[in-house]
Symmetry: C2
Subunit: 549 residues, 2 copies
């Protein structure tokens, strides 16, 4: 029996578009000789549908779609993720389910047992867990079918296991002879190897072939990286689908090819892939065709523009230089050179007269001191306004250019450089932005070397340098990672060799800039802990960085 893993990129709530995709991939799989085609978790509606899962109309449409797909099904078996109704008189109204469609009918329906409730996941909000999930027969095989988190039962949070049960091992004991898991597993740098290790262990431990079908594509902050894979009963990787694109992986169960060693992407390559996918899919799923990027001559905006060109093509990206009296000549030249290198449309809109106009308008209320916070912010806000005006006029979207390091400590201006529909670098620390720039330049100089080599500056007051206001980025980025990703506190971080005062000041800045992040555009998650939906912090709060009680 040939099994096809159809790694598709559905759009949330686009039932007719997703149905079409499922039909097309099913036809392709059948043409290639598959007896069974497998689609990802919630392939019918897209993932994560968030509170749409609470919308009765959404669930009705999902139900109509699965019935229609079942009615159309023929000799090819189709396994597809959807939401099924909970028939019990209590609990959440739906399950996170998978159906086997065959010869006009829903032949089997199985529900997710383990519901993730951490980071970007809130599945206990929406779904009732399965009480049991026994294997089912298809064409003489006994299939153990699980959904995403069911395969992650052994994961730990600190020294505690998240879950008590092993839904996959149970299916093996119940007589499964093939294991299939359908997933919507978000990209995190380095996660693919961990994922393969876990899935391989299921195959090896249970001595059964294991088919893992992951989703691909970007959905707001989350990118699914595909890389569906198949393991033989010894846990050896047989094949892996493409990263960050739709793909079909076909494997003959009775005649498996020898173990494969796919050439894995480097960390920076996969981060770039996630960002390009995130930008491209956000634009296409929002039905917006072009973007505007403010080009300061610095590295962040250069990397965003380069990624946007890779995601959308050069004709859909406009770079806008908005020099002020504090912009260095070098920065102006670097911005223009970048635009030339990328072959994108380039506009130059000087902001000095607007800056003067604000000072004139406000002179009776606010004294004129160029060091003042308001004067720095107003320049960023003028630029944000200009970009938004251009985007409004042409029906485009502004991409913001700020990185995670700045956003962490609030070194950014609300309604200024934070204005835009998507923040591609908001989960990318400054040190990684440098790596991205070098990676983008690996064959030729696209990002001007000067943008990479000069000291970072917001250029909002005379002689300003980031390092006057912030710790050096290599230090800052380490502290941020220890605190945000690894959840270490003040003392634990200081013990790793940082000044306690510096750590304290940094953590306090994180606390005090929560209000900015609450109003930030979506980012693209590449780390274990991105700002946005997966990190929820109160704004009005006290602090426990001072240890008195």
């Amino acid at each position: 029996m040939k099994i096809a893993l159809a790694q598709i990129n559905p759009t949330i709530a686009d039932f007719s578009g997703n149905l079409k995709k499922i039909r097309d991939f099913s036809a392709k799989a059948q043409k290639q000789g598959a007896s069974l085609v497998v689609f990802p978790e919630q392939a019918l509606s897209g993932y994560p549908a968030l509170d749409l899962w609470e919308d009765p109309a959404f669930i009705r449409e999902n139900s109509r779609a699965i019935k229609k797909l079942a009615a159309e099904s023929g000799e090819l078996g189709i396994i597809v993720g959807f939401s099924s109704f909970n028939s019990a008189p209590f609990g959440k109204p739906i399950h996170n389910s998978a159906a086997l469609l065959h010869r006009g009918k829903i032949k089997a329906s199985r529900h997710k047992t383990l519901l993730p409730t951490y980071d970007v996941f809130d599945e206990a909000r929406y779904f009732k867990p399965a009480r049991s999930n026994p294997p089912f027969k298809f064409k003489g095989k006994t299939i153990g079918l699980t959904i995403c988190e069911d395969a992650w039962f052994s994961e730990k949070n600190g020294n505690k296991k998240l879950y008590q049960t092993d839904p996959i091992g149970l299916q093996a004991r119940q007589g499964a002879d093939i294991l299939i898991n359908i997933s919507a597993s978000p990209f995190i740098r380095g996660k693919n190897l961990q994922r393969r290790k876990i899935m391989s262990a299921h195959a090896r431990k249970n001595q059964l072939p294991f088919f893992y079908c992951n989703m691909t594509g970007g959905n707001d902050e989350i990118v699914f990286d595909g890389r569906s894979c198949v393991f033989d009963h010894k846990g050896r990787l047989i094949d892996q689908a493409k990263a960050f694109s739709e793909d079909i992986l076909l494997v003959d169960l009775e005649n498996m090819p020898p173990p494969a060693s796919p050439s894995d992407m480097s960390e920076i390559e996969e981060i770039e892939g996630a960002l390009i996918t995130g930008i491209g899919d956000y634009l296409s799923k929002c039905k917006i065709s072009k973007v505007f990027v403010g080009l300061s001559g610095g590295i962040d905006s250069a990397v965003v523009a380069a990624l946007a060109v890779k995601a959308l093509g050069k004709d859909r990206v406009t770079g806008v230089s908005m020099p002020s009296r504090y912009s260095s000549q070098g920065s102006i030249v670097d911005a223009k050179t970048l635009a030339q290198n990328l072959q994108i449309r380039f506009l130059s809109v000087p902001i000095s007269s607007l800056h003067d106009s604000y000072k004139e308008t406000l002179k009776n209320f606010i004294g004129g001191n160029p060091e003042d916070l308001w004067e720095q912010n107003i320049q960023a806000r003028i630029r944000g306004n200009i970009l938004m005006a251009l985007a409004n006029k042409e029906g485009g979207m502004v991409l913001t250019t700020g990185n995670k390091s700045e956003l962490s400590v609030g070194y950014c201006t609300l309604y200024g450089d934070m204005s835009g529909g998507l923040a591609p670098l908001a989960d990318v620390p400054k040190e990684t932005v440098y790596q991205l720039a070098q990676w983008i330049n690996r064959e030729k100089e696209i990002i001007p070397l000067n943008s990479i080599q000069k000291a970072p500056s917001a250029e909002l007051k005379p002689g300003q340098k980031d390092e006057d206001d912030l710790p050096p980025y290599p230090v800052l980025d380490q502290i941020l990672k220890l605190h945000i990703e690894e959840r270490l506190g003040l003392d634990e971080i200081a013990k790793k060799g940082f000044s306690k005062n510096l750590v304290k000041e940094t953590l306090r800045r994180i606390e005090l800039s929560e209000h900015k992040r609450r109003q930030a555009p979506p980012s693209i998650k590449i780390s274990p802990k991105a700002f946005g939906v997966g990190r929820r912090m109160p704004i009005a709060r006290g602090t426990y960085l001072d240890e008195e009680l």
Copy 2:
């Protein structure tokens, strides 16, 4: 035995401040003769602490605080909400707990059984539920102690019960002779009567006195309304604490006063109370003393300014008029009159020259058509910038003035009128804004009648009226309520007597403006479904308003 319910207003993460409050209220309760004082759910750390509950340092501080409080305890028994460690090797690391402190020790510790995972609640993200919660002895009484949601076990979601178990009934069967519930139950208009009905039923059904201690105060989007209450064993209300303020309710168990009939607040009165509390606590817990409000002469900004004065006092509110060439003389006068009526500082900052300056700066890129979206938006953005500049300079916060009706359909400008730290009316539909204005004017004309009576207009282009762009507000507000609060779909709403096209267009506008709401400042929740933390929607998505598959 006299029991005191100490309805306090803790600040999230301010352990030393909250400890002090608990000490002070304990001393007051003891002075009044109480043997037992009861504090709300999570009184030690504030609620909702959100992902701070995942921060090991936060949990350690909470643990230090409860130990310190226990060590200090004497003859007065103290029941207080905190987070305790889960001792099992699996599951979430903490419980949502309550401790009985007495004579230097934690005498009993009990955990929440039912964890809400809907609307603003994500407790399954943080807490391990209790496996059992038996009553415990204190001074000869057997106390059944539950936490918030435990008392709401009979609630339904559509036709399904949320939960299977009744933690309170179980305690009664296990021999409890007093029932106590500690809560952090968010304000929703009209909820207090529902809450009293539910708590009264526990007392009546189990034939036991019931003590209900709720939190008070605002925390970002959520306001707790207090109104703790006590019921006798027949379910009769004995007493109710104040709304929206700290209070102690002392009841002698052996000598209960006769049933009481508190004069309940009208709906508009309690909405006003929630908004004033929300504004005041957000400012004080953010440690910001003053606010800036853009006064357009319209009703929304007038109501926000009036509420701000009630929350903060007139000396901490600045009204800013920012007339443009499209501002009517009436609007300018109305804004000034309002400021005079409220006795607040009033600034007038005309924006025409800035508007011209933007047009001049952008003339080579964007043609000049005053009907253009960008030209309308830029005026709102200039105003947002001016307010932010003033707030930056003086260390204040801008309050936005948009209402829920506008925000629902995206009739508002990102980085323009949406600029600010708090959006007091973002959960208040336009029709309720009118009611608020009338309520505020009930004794004398504070909000100019003209602001209430004239047709609403954004005044961003010549002759503009809201009704040219939107359905009349009475119609719009009904459609929005049916869809957002009651979750009805297109056909169901149309069947209630609205044009299907109008409903479809309205629902589609809600879908298409999700990106604006994602970047909106926090609102203050007064409805069953507010935008913000309790309503999570994808931005990049398809639609199922067209019914083809």
